[in-house]
């Protein structure tokens, strides 16, 4: 059974804090918090590292063709991306 959205959000937030302790650790990470290029301001390399961390955390495999930038718009869009892969 897939974890609830709140649980996915909590675990994604923990991954982000591990990845970028300064940028992501300062304030609350909410669904609307920006990721790629704004908000926390991750770049494409960090987006890919987030994917690698999520693959490990959730036991996922994300193929190259699914790595659209839109999935990294906000924390919420990335949580949705993870949920869909889990579902």
């Amino acid at each position: 059974m897939s974890p609830a959205r709140d649980e996915v959000l909590r675990r994604v937030a923990a991954l982000l804090r591990d990845l970028l302790p300064t940028a992501a650790g300062a304030g609350a990470l909410e669904e609307g918090t920006g990721l790629l290029g704004h908000g926390i301001g991750i770049d494409s390399v960090e987006a890919l590292q987030l994917v690698a961390a999520a693959e490990k955390e959730f036991g996922l495999t994300v193929p190259d063709e699914d790595l659209f930038p839109e999935h990294f718009e906000t924390v919420g869009t990335f949580v949705t991306f993870v949920e869909r892969r889990l579902g």
């Binding site: 970028l20 302790p21 300064t22 940028a23 790629l36 290029g37 301001g41 991750i42 770049d43 494409s44 390399v45 960090e46 987006a47 890919l48 590292q49 994917v51 190259d64 063709e65 790595l67 659209f68 930038p69």
Partner: protein
């Protein structure tokens, strides 16, 4: 050590052009006209006369477009201050445009039997060898100078190195088309391939950031670096996070991705500059690796690396102002620009 494989496939740069993009634009037609003028020159005129031909064409265009020329000269004045005369700024404007013309001539000559064969000198090969000896690959940050796109690839190939080159999907034949042109299917699928087909002769392979922006290309880059390979890219602002750096009292943005990849992968980030030595002679300089000050967190380290790169870049531009292709992307701050204009 990475060496050139006997025959390596190259990916088409225009791959992935979606049907939602327009088929053709006015810029494409202009570029076709330019190619029809430049192709006979490139094939028939001796190479030693290309500079004169480029100057003549650039002078004519500058004179026929006085509004654009005024804007370009104003930007050069803002950046360089009150020192250069108006005549010197006009000459610089013409030389920058002339270099664009010559770059196209070099590519078009590549299609003639025998191709284009400049004299090349690679300086700083030891930087590359030292990077590869550490076993984490090398990222070559090719600075946006005229001739750099093709000449850097030719020199590295001549040195026996197999380089993977990262590029965005290309929009046209012009060296700066990715900055100013709206993408069209014709530009991506036809015009850009006129350029990349010649460049690809000198590459191990080409890694393309697709039109859709999918990030899979980064996995390819990581794999090349894990294999202790060499990945080149053109230093520029096309990326998801752009970092402003100080240059000539103004600012220019550079994408954070490649420096960040170097930091996270352990690859050496080596700036590369292409300098013209004579009408048909070029030096490709590989500078020592850019490394951040110790103890900085990741984003601060990327900022620090790009700041160091900007200082190096400015020193090259001051020595070779007519070879830098980024003058018109430089953003001058209003206060500085007004002060200099007043002077």
């Amino acid at each position: 050590m990475s060496t050139m494989p006997p025959s390596a496939p190259a990916t088409a740069a225009g791959a992935g052009a979606p049907r939602t993009d327009p088929g053709l634009s006015v810029s494409d037609v202009s570029e076709l006209i330019a190619i029809s003028v430049l192709a006979p020159i490139s094939w028939l005129l001796p190479q030693r006369l290309w500079g004169l031909a480029g100057d003549a064409l650039a002078f004519a265009i500058a004179a026929l477009r006085p509004d654009v020329t005024r804007r370009r000269m104003k930007r050069l004045r803002e950046a360089l201050g009150p020192g250069p005369s108006g005549r010197a700024l006009f000459a610089l404007r013409v030389r920058i445009m002339s270099a664009y013309m010559e770059e196209r001539l070099q590519i078009l000559r590549g299609y003639r039997p025998g191709g284009w064969r400049p004299h090349l000198r690679l300086t700083g090969r030891e930087q590359l060898d030292a990077a590869l000896a550490r076993g984490h690959g090398a990222l070559l940050m090719v600075s946006p100078f005229s001739h750099a796109d093709l000449v850097s690839k030719m020199a590295l190939r001549e040195a026996g190195l197999a380089v993977s080159h990262l590029s965005t999907y290309s929009r046209g034949f012009s060296p700066n088309s990715c900055h100013v042109w709206r993408p069209t299917r014709f530009g991506m699928n036809v015009l850009s391939r006129l350029r990349t087909r010649i460049e690809d002769r000198y590459l191990g392979d080409r890694i393309v950031v697709p039109r859709s922006g999918q990030l899979g290309y980064l996995r390819q880059m990581e794999q090349r670096l894990r294999d202790n390979g060499i990945v080149s890219f053109r230093a520029g602002d096309r990326g998801h996070r752009a970092i402003p750096v100080r240059l000539f009292g103004g600012r220019l943005e550079f994408a954070s991705g490649a420096p960040n990849l170097a930091l996270s992968s352990g690859a050496a980030l080596l700036p590369v500059f292409v300098v013209r030595l004579g009408s048909n002679a070029f030096e490709v300089v590989v500078e020592p690796p850019l490394e951040p000050a110790a103890g900085l967190e990741r984003h601060a380290a990327v900022d620090d690396v790009l700041g160091r790169y900007a200082a190096l870049l400015e020193s090259y531009i001051r020595r070779h102002p007519n070879q830098w292709s980024g003058w018109y992307r430089l953003e001058m701050e209003p206060r500085a620009a007004e002060g200099e204009a007043a002077g």
